[in-house]
């Protein structure tokens, strides 16, 4: 016969209330089989059986308050030989198996932690974790002190093209100086490591003999430009006017360049004399119905001026398509002489780089050129107050021999009016 006393339920409580018995007198039980549920101040917990055997006596009934360590159950365990290791039976408070009575706060499933929220998933990690083999070979990349790197960057010297003369092939300040002053003499004799100097101090490396640039004749587009420009300066009576288009009212998604092209069409509709060729010798002009707009495009080789044909008959989407063709052709360097022949008016859109207004140069026999700077935010007076609006700066140069200032102002006004439309 063994007597089992109510164990300390681990919370220092003096007593517990029996919620329900799971066994009755005469039952045969196994070790760890739940005997009864008791309620402490915090939770309902199951008390497992410490012994295997037959229940001889229950000392209490449901609802009784039992003092800790009071006798609870008598077990008949035969001769006592089959007594299970009755160390200290501990109630399974942490994970009660199907508590007989639902507590006020149902005990959640074990989430693997007692505080916080543990993110859990069965997602498989896909990774390769490499333990690197030891290598002794170098990377072949240039080695240089940060100050030398900054110095080289300032002088436009590409370190990858230098051979370092310092310790362990380190690129020194002298190496950079040499490369900067005479590109032919990159590799030199062994030198000490370039000592750090404040950037304001002039490098004291021996100065190479001054090498002035070589005289090289202009070629290609650059040569064409000089001939056109010289002709202009000797012939045309240029006059330029400036203004801005306020595009604050634009709906989103407007194509700036296409809108500018369309506004030139509007200008020409208002003043057809700007879409013309002028012959100074004959003192005669041809006004054209069709607008063939030359687009000045900047390339590394020089100025290229492909022509967009009949822009007056096209909507914004078609203009964009034409602009893309121009862009691609210039980029791919496939602009043919035919593509540049006989424009009737020119646009120089330099806005994406810098510059606000300009005095672009009319190329005869054309009589007008429009220059547009970048769209920018300007402070503008509005109804006695101040607002910030987006504006496009406009410059119009025209040949005053055959066009009047009044006509130019009306042309520009028509452009602005069209540009300021919402779309």
């Amino acid at each position: 016969m063994k007597t089992f006393n109510l164990p300390d339920l681990g919370e220092g409580l003096q007593e517990a209330e029996i919620v329900t018995w799971h066994v009755k007198q005469g039952d045969t039980v196994k070790v760890d089989q739940p005997l009864l549920s008791v309620e402490t101040a915090k939770a309902v917990v199951d008390v497992p059986s410490p012994y295997a055997g037959r229940i001889a006596k229950l000392y209490w009934k449901d609802g009784d308050i039992v003092p800790t360590h009071a006798a609870l159950v008598d077990f008949d365990i035969g001769d006592g030989a089959s007594a299970a290791p009755a160390a200290t039976p501990v109630p399974k408070a942490q994970a009660p198996k199907a508590p007989a009575v639902v507590t006020e706060e149902p005990i959640a499933e074990d989430s693997g932690t007692v505080v916080g929220k543990m993110a859990t998933s069965s997602t498989l990690v896909e990774e390769t974790a490499i333990i690197r083999k030891r290598s002794v070979k170098g990377t072949g990349k240039p080695k240089a002190a940060p100050a030398v790197r900054a110095y080289a960057k300032g002088l436009g010297v590409d370190l990858t093209r230098l051979t370092g003369t310092g310790k362990n092939d380190l690129i020194t300040r002298s190496d950079v100086d040499r490369a900067a002053s005479s590109p032919g003499a990159i590799a030199g004799s062994k030198d000490r490591r370039g000592e750090a100097r404040p950037p304001s101090v002039k490098p004291s490396a021996p100065l190479a003999p001054i090498a002035y640039g070589e005289m090289v004749p202009l070629k290609g587009p650059r040569r064409a430009m000089q001939s056109a420009m010289s002709k202009t300066r000797s012939e045309v009576a240029e006059c330029t006017i400036f203004d801005d288009a306020d595009v604050h009212g634009w709906t989103p998604g407007n194509d700036i360049t296409a809108r500018i092209v369309r506004s030139i069409v509007a200008g020409v509709r208002a003043e057809p004399g700007f879409n013309a060729w002028y012959d100074g010798e004959k003192v005669a002009r041809q006004i054209h119905e069709r607008i063939d707009l030359a687009m000045a495009v900047d390339t590394p080789e020089g100025l290229i001026v492909p022509v967009m044909r009949d822009v007056g008959s096209k909507d914004l989407a078609q203009l964009r398509a034409d602009l893309n063709v121009v862009k691609e052709k210039t980029h791919a360097r496939t602009v043919s002489p035919e593509d540049m022949r006989n424009p009737t008016i020119t646009l120089s859109n330099f806005g994406m780089m810098a510059g606000r207004y300009a005095t672009p140069v009319v190329v005869p026999p054309q009589v007008a050129i429009v220059g547009t700077g970048g769209v920018r935010h300007d402070v503008v007076p509005v109804l006695g107050g101040v607002e910030v609006h987006k504006r496009i700066p406009l410059s119009l140069t025209f040949d005053h021999r055959c066009l009047t200032g009044g006509e130019a102002c009306r042309f520009l006004a028509a452009m602005i009016k069209d540009l300021q439309k919402a779309q």
């Binding site: 942490q94 929220k117 543990m118 498989l124 990774e127 690197r132 240089a144 002190a145 940060p146």
Partner: protein, 325 residues
């Protein structure tokens, strides 16, 4: 092969070593009957008995002190601290004794103990349940600091830590405990304690990180791959001592480095990595090193913890900055 979560890999490693080495014991608060606050020691007491899996009183200094004594006398204790914020009472024992006994006794005694603790935030826990204090121990001589970032590395590195003759602080990223799973061969193979792990090869920038930040770092690297930036991600793994060579060779290759740590930025392990690169790979750097880290504040309560911990966006911004620099 078993597909297991990081915390299960920890259990597997301890069980393997306990089964193969009688000197291995586990101790800590609730590690026995309860199976540990995060269930890392689940089932160990049932399997190896209460003599080898010991429930201690709620006293961290005692856990560390007892472990040092056990270790010095020939056992291999694995002690668990419930949260890294509760590790501070152990600091005296660990620094003054665990880390110095070998030196103090001129090699007559060593302390082959492991002090395991969950580390880092991201599980919505209260204060001092979420801190990243690896730098405290990384600073002290005589102690190894290891932080795994995948189930495989958790298994292999913990085995190595148990077998190592010196004290190892083994900080387990809490957020990764059950975040995902990996196939882990329970064959008792340890990983080296002196190497980084290259998780992603790249050519433009080296990203060094460890612990749970591996997740954000890999995601940011993936994201920037689309912008044409090739990021090499290195899991430091052995926070102290640091595998210098893997890092230096990578930085010499890429010329750029971003360091991502969850811990506060000042005086962190990231500062040590940055100093290492400045000392030994400066001439390969094409841009200043960038550290992305937690802020110099206590880990905030859980509503703000995601503002504290480096996000994918912050890591990406760090990479972008070092590419532009």
């Amino acid at each position: 092969m078993a597909k297991v979560a990081l915390v299960e890999a920890i259990t597997m490693a301890m069980a393997y070593e306990m089964a193969h080495d009688d000197s291995v014991v586990v101790l800590g608060e609730d590690v026995g009957k309860n199976g540990g606050v995060f269930r890392a020691t689940l089932g160990l007491q049932e399997r190896f008995g209460a003599e080898r899996v010991i429930d201690t009183p709620l006293a961290e200094a005692l856990i560390a002190g007892i472990s040092i004594g056990m270790a010095a006398m020939g056992l291999k204790p694995i002690a668990e601290i419930q949260f890294s914020g509760f590790i501070y009472p152990c600091v005296d024992e660990i620094i003054n004794h665990a880390g110095r006994l070998r030196s103090r006794t001129r090699g007559r005694l060593s302390v082959p103990m492991v002090l395991r603790a969950p580390s880092g935030g991201g599980i919505h826990a209260p204060e001092h349940h979420s801190e990243s204090n690896e730098a405290l121990f990384a600073h002290m001589p005589g102690i190894r600091v290891v932080m795994p970032s995948s189930p495989q590395r958790a298994y292999g590195l913990l085995l190595a830590a148990i077998r190592d003759p010196d004290p190892v602080i083994f900080l387990e990223p809490t957020r990764l405990y059950r975040l995902n799973k990996q196939e882990v061969a329970d064959d008792g193979t340890a990983l080296p304690l002196d190497t980084c792990f290259v998780l992603r090869e790249g050519t433009d920038v080296t990203l060094v990180t460890w612990g749970a930040m591996v997740v954000e770092s890999m995601a940011a690297a993936e994201l920037l791959e689309k912008d044409g930036v090739s990021v090499e991600v290195i899991d430091l793994a052995t926070v102290s001592p640091i595998d210098e060579q893997t890092i230096l060779e990578s930085v010499e290759k890429t010329g750029r480095c971003v360091i991502v740590q969850e811990a506060p930025i000042t005086g962190g392990v990231g500062s040590e990595v940055a100093a290492l690169i400045a000392e030994k790979a400066l001439y390969s750097l094409e841009a200043p090193i960038v550290r992305v880290a937690g802020w110099d504040t206590p880990m905030p309560l859980f509503k703000l913890e995601h503002d504290y911990m480096p996000s994918i966006a912050r890591v990406s911004a760090g990479i972008t900055a070092v590419m532009e620099g």
